[in-house]
Amino acid sequence: MTPVLFLVLLLLSVPVALVLALTAIGYIWASGNTVLYDSFAQKMFAGIENYGLLAIPLFMLAGELMNEGGMTRRLINAARVFVGGFRGGLAYINLLANMFMAAIIGSATAQIAVMAQAMVPQMEQEGYDRGFAAATTAAGGLLAPIIPPSMMFVIFGVLAQIPIGDMFLAGILPGLILAFAVVCVIATIGFVQGFPKGEWFTASEAASALLYCLPATLIPIAIVGGILLGIATPTESAAVASLIAFLVGWLVYRELKPSALFGVFRRTAVNASMIIFMIAAANVFGWVIIYEALPQKLAAYITSVTSDPFVFLLIINVMLLFVGMLIDGIAALILLTPILLPIAIAHYGISPFHFGVVVCLNLALGLLTPPVGVGLYIAAAMSKTNPGQVLKSLWPFLVAVAAVLLLLSRFPVLSTALI
């Protein structure tokens, strides 16, 4: 009965957070254990009383300030100094910029929108096919959740109760493999279709691009260095990055006025509260299903099908590709982790880090696959083309990423080696 309630609410377009909370309420009702209602509101609060979640608003803030303060643009410009003149140079830059930024801002789709507007016209100007330009932007969005910093990893870390810094480490090797795979796709397409020749900056242009980019490089240094050197927690390094982004955007680039800050914080509050509230609802949902020992029952069913961790992950992958057709990545992550992770750990001995990498990449992939790929539609809309046109260039990327996903599912060491 309750799974039906869940599906009906979900498909009726009730907000995902409320679907979770209402299903939990329905579960309690059906189980007759109505004393749980007394703890319901308190449990909703308790689910977000968590230090790790502070990383969500702070990473979003850092991303907002970087975009507002002109840092993103200057980082891209500096990258052009090094590869802009190569054939397909701009395509690689688009990919790299997306990889870094998309997951900072929390919503891969929002970042695809920003980057498509910025990069697609530039690429078209140099003679790239518009569909291909949009496809590269979208493919960058695929890598973003895996290469740290990543909002998805932050959220998974909180849900799985594992250190977020370690989760970031787990993403490094898979991220490099992914980047390599995607670069190979771009190179192959370039080889087959022939890319337009890029243009090198003149020496003075290059010097100024590099000089202007210097302050902006402080931000990746603050985030990555802070975490890896252990000077700061991921949450703290995001706060430091926000401060740097603000100071550089205001005092050095002079594109960010302090008066614009309130708007930035307001947007951050709106976006962060949306995600964190979903987590609050997922928490009561997870609590109720644990009370009803549901993961044990589901586990008994799945373990009767297979006892092999790889086969289990394959089943999860196929299942998640369907889920990814319906629901945006982070919402799906919040929805499914409480159910699937306990099974993966207890019955298949899968490391939570390995599981997190596989699930996050899978859900990112779902964002771009038809029939419902929000990322695909946004990339198309923002670059004023149609999804079919984008998909024509995108499918080799999807295939490559799917292959990497299989590889990562098969070899856990790729995710756990650096931890």
């Binding site: 254990n33 004393v35 749980l36 007394d38 703890s39 308190q42 449990k43 308790a46 230090y51 109760q161 594992i162 250190p163 810094g165 370690d166 050197l229 252990g230 000077i231 700061a232 927690t233 609590w287 644990i290 009370y291 020992a293």
Partner: protein
């Protein structure tokens, strides 16, 4: 017939969780299958504060919980955390099994909303430090990870350290990368979770005991028959109490293992901490009415 739920924060292989499991098995057997207990380890139902609330509403039936959490609402029990109340883990066991300790359980239904069946035990607290520790001054000003409870906080404040509350999953990294200088921890986890790997000094201070208490929801208790109450109270008490024997046996082995790690290993006593113990006693003789009685028990049961 009831299907009880028992929650606790420790992971499945931990001594407390094992005791909970064998309690579950025994209760099922002794009740002839009428009652069953599902154990929810590793904070699955929430942290201790949340579980305590669930005990109060009756959503959760039973829990094995640190006395620290309970002492938030029943400060008298904070006296168990008096520094150097116990000389060693065996002595701690004798104190926890005393009549004075048992009497403290009686205030739990009124103050906490749960019935306490017996005290159990975690290991004694030790200190692991990244830097050299030659005197207590070396700990002053250092960021020291603690479990955030008033009696522990007061002890480290008295030393002059900067006590930093931090949940267990973050501790290893924090110690590895210098977010904290030292940690307050028990020998079992220092060994099992390899906290010594990123430390220079292991200080066997045995400065505090870390008791546990077996709880049954007051609401659930009210609905049980007299017969069931007796059976549950006796069985739970037996298994909670059994953790004391387990620690008495296992703790010396862990400490021996830690000595073998090649890290600087120092055994220190009450004098090492100078006037910190005195300061702590001044604060807690106000907060807890049980402190003097427990000190007396400590003297009577000392070796």
């Amino acid at each position: 017939a009831n299907d009880f739920r028992l929650g606790l924060i420790t992971p499945p292989p931990h001594i407390w969780t094992k005791a909970a499991q064998s309690f579950a098995e025994d209760l099922a057997e002794e009740s002839g299958g009428a009652h069953s207990v599902t154990v929810f380890p590793a904070s699955q139902l929430g942290n201790e504060a949340e579980m305590l609330q669930q005990l109060q509403t009756g959503a959760l039936d039973m829990a094995f919980m640190t006395v620290a959490e309970v002492s938030n609402r029943a400060p008298d029990l904070g006296a168990f955390y008096a520094p150097f109340l116990a000389q060693d883990v065996g002595h701690a066991g004798r104190i926890l099994r005393s009549d004075v300790a048992k009497d403290l359980l009686e205030q739990l239904p009124g103050k906490v909303g749960a019935v306490g069946t017996a005290f159990g035990m975690g290991g004694l607290r030790q200190i692991v430090s990244r830097g050299e520790v030659n005197s207590v001054q070396d700990l002053a000003g250092s960021k020291t990870r603690i479990t955030p409870f008033a009696p522990i906080l007061d002890f480290y404040n008295a030393i002059g350290a900067a006590p930093t509350p931090m949940p267990l999953p973050d501790v290893y990294d924090a110690l590895a990368n210098g977010q904290v200088d030292a940690i307050d921890m028990d020998a079992e986890l220092i060994w099992a979770l390899k906290y010594y790997e990123h430390a220079d000094t292991i200080l066997q201070s045995d400065h505090m005991m870390f008791p546990m208490v077996g709880l049954v929801s007051g609401r659930v208790w009210a609905d049980l028959s007299e017969e069931d109450r007796t059976m549950i109270a006796e069985l739970m008490a037996r298994h909670v109490d059994s953790t004391i024997d387990t620690y008495v046996e296992a703790e010396p082995v862990w400490l021996e293992d830690l000595k073998g790690t090649g890290k600087t290993y120092k055994i220190v006593d009450e004098e090492f901490f100078a006037d910190a113990v005195q300061k702590w006693n001044e604060i807690w003789s106000q907060k807890s009415a049980a402190l003097d009685d427990l000190r007396n028990v400590s003297r009577e049961t000392a070796n």
